[in-house]
């Protein structure tokens, strides 16, 4: 990738965003990221279509499906510019980043025709139905049942999903369910696509620690997945579900570092203003945060490298634990810098941003594999240490 082409791409993105992320879209800046996912939903959906109009949804997809076929380096450049401009959290993220690539790889031509264009156009939104009350870290313990209806070949789904982000704003859900009665663990699972707007589905919001409700419980009572909306075959659900998780390679988190840098910058500015910058202890923590963020940037670049060595593998495995803990620590640091003011809900936009950071960063170490699960993966897959013993499945 030539530096010139990258620079040109950056300039193009910047120019487009400064023209379009303005006017009625102005209030969207900085909003709608993890933990704040229910902010300004209607306007953010319109924003998705605005992006689509500019050709900026799904830029990493192949041209065949309306993408720009951008390389990793180009996608990173795009994400960085997007974050730098304060681009809002993407309601379309799950379609663009997770189910879209999964369908491109494993979907039937008919599924691709049916779903990809609407994701690309920002007209259909998706949510992820993996977690259940009894299946969190232990995802293979899902109990939601799918039964094949002989007459139609459709699948009828019963059960409950939980923590389903953006379900209340979405049109479709992909669900990991148990299609083989009596099966346990990774066997006997199926990966289904269901329209949310149908009689057998009820969505109930769950209020979060920040007061909002970006995630939901989704109840299935005979909801229907059409026969042609199975990805892979019955019994292959685990393979598809885990492949989907592999598509998130940290490209968007490299963009998110731009927002992290701005948060740290804000912490520094407030520390200078309110005198916290005179505390030796806070100075150490602020400098440590700066060092950690620099290292994170380089770590992400290394994680994106095609490096099969042990170091390369460990950089990839360690990345999520690193950034999520860094961000959570920054949230606490921000509050410590604010001091007693941190506790006052006064509508001051800068302080409000740091309060949101403090609360919402608590989710970072939980979703997408908790910190403890990340450490297990590093130990087992990275270091070859023995696997965790399992209890019996009930």
């Amino acid at each position: 990738m030539s530096d010139d082409r990258l620079a040109a791409l950056r300039a193009e993105v910047r120019a487009w965003l400064s023209e379009h992320l303005a006017g009625r879209f102005e209030p969207l800046r900085w909003r709608g990221h993890a933990g704040d996912g229910d902010a300004l939903p209607e306007l953010r959906k319109e924003w998705e279509r605005e992006l689509a109009g500019g050709g900026w949804t799904c830029p990493g997809w192949p041209a065949e499906w309306g993408g720009r076929g951008l390389s990793v380096a180009e996608q990173v450049a795009f994400q960085e510019e997007y974050a730098r401009a304060g681009g809002p959290g993407r309601i379309g993220h799950i379609g663009e980043g997770l189910i879209g690539p999964t369908l491109i790889e494993f979907g039937t031509p008919a599924q691709q025709q049916r779903f990809l264009p609407a994701i690309r156009a920002g007209t259909e939104f998706w949510c992820q139905g993996y977690s259940e009350p009894q299946a969190g870290s232990d995802l293979a313990n899902v109990r939601t049942r799918a039964r094949r209806e002989d007459a139609t070949g459709d699948w009828l789904v019963h059960g409950q999903k939980v923590w389903t982000s953006l379900a209340h704003l979405s049109d479709w859900i992909f669900v990991l369910a148990r299609s083989e009665e009596g099966s346990t663990g990774r066997h006997g699972l199926i990966f289904l696509l269901l329209a949310l707007d149908q009689p057998g589905i009820e969505i109930r919001p769950i209020r979060q620690i920040g007061g909002g409700a970006e995630f939901n419980s989704v109840f299935f009572d005979g909801a229907r997945a059409r026969a042609e909306h199975v990805v892979g075959a019955a019994g292959e659900g685990w393979r598809i579900a885990t492949a989907l998780l592999g598509f998130e390679r940290g490209i968007s988190t490299l963009g998110q570092q731009m927002a992290f840098a701005q948060e740290l910058d804000l912490v520094c500015r407030i520390a200078r203003e309110n005198g916290a910058a005179r505390s030796p202890e806070l100075r150490q923590r602020i400098a440590r945060a700066w060092a950690g963020l620099r290292a994170m940037r380089y770590l992400a670049m290394r994680a994106l490298c095609d490096d099969a060595s042990r170091e390369g593998r460990l950089a990839r495995l360690g990345y999520k634990y690193h950034w999520s803990n860094w961000h959570r620590d920054l949230g606490r640091l921000a509050m410590d810098v604010l001091g007693p003011d941190g506790n006052v809900v006064d509508g001051d936009p800068r302080r409000e941003r740091l309060r949101r950071l403090f609360l919402f960063s608590r989710a970072d170490t939980i979703y997408g594999g908790t910190s403890e699960i990340q450490l297990n993966l590093i130990a087992e897959q990275g270091l070859g240490m023995p696997r965790e013993p399992r209890g019996d499945r009930s």
Binding site: A261, L264, R283, A287, A295, M301, G318, Y319, M385
Partner: protein, 381 residues
Amino acid sequence: MMDLQLTDDQRLIRQQAARLLADRAGPQQLRQTVAAATGFDAALWRTVARQLGWCAMTIAERHGGLGLSLTELSLVVEAAGERLAPLPLWSTACAAAPLLSAVATEEARAAILPRIAAGEIAATVAWGDLGAADPLAATPVTAVPANGGYLLDGLVTQVVDAEAADLVLVPARLAQGLALFALERGAGHETRQIETLDATRQIGALEMRGLRLSADARLDADGFTPRAAASAIATANLGLAAEQVGAARAVMDLTLAYVGERVQFGRVIASFQAVKHRCARLEVDLAEARAMVLGAAANFANAEDDERLLEARAARALASDLLFRAAEESIQLHGGVGFTWEYDPHLYLKRAQAVSALLGSADRHLEAIAEHLLAEACHER
């Protein structure tokens, strides 16, 4: 996006270094080093400096060097750190050569750098304050002009590789500012080796009493400020950080090997999650510190002095902390044998503690970063 993918050549350099040192600086030889307490393996030094050109890496081709980047140098220094190899490599390649490049006249550089590049000499720097994050802010050495030359006085209590070095670079206080002097072996100064807790690195005292030097022993043109040496101080810190990351890798590997064999309660102790998680957390910290070192090395050529120094300080702060904890955890997870002379973790603990004090402890580097962030407008990346 900057490319952090190592090239095939860089990987090869790293592999060759690791292989050579496994053969010539393995656990047996390490014990011999500790017993001999010289902190220097002259035969191994000849191999790496003369035959393999480890000191030539970052020296420009016009000065007989290889004109490679700091990445290649970091990789071999990292490999040396893994083995705690008793070589004046850091002193020569990461401290003396960069300081010459930063403040010496072109004439002086053209005279000395080719000798370093060819591996003819080992060199070191008598930093005025070896423990400071700004090691040139103060120096106990004074110089006064005399008879067309200079008289040097002062005692530098700790100089790394003082005895192994054929050339000691001495920053000295002159009426205005600092000057840099070259002490060739036999110039009339005295060095005395010091017994140190970390017996894998040589430290000596350097004393000059009315030492008479000719005018051409002075290497700078007309004085320099510590600021002018910023890129050299950055390189020296990056080199130490690379060495620390290498040592951390090695001591973590000792731990992993031990916990993978030791059985208690009917299972290898590596199967206990408390043990797994502690090893895994260290891996995250190692990946962080190593990314910082290699990232800063790759960014070095494009960055301004301020940024170079900040990134090197970040690398040092992370790597110092990493190595100490890796060594501490190694002793802990070895149990009783971790407390014995026979097992190696204590060698790494001693190195960890000793190196953490060189050119500024982690908290001093963090304070320097904080000063930068909190004094003026905060810099985004």
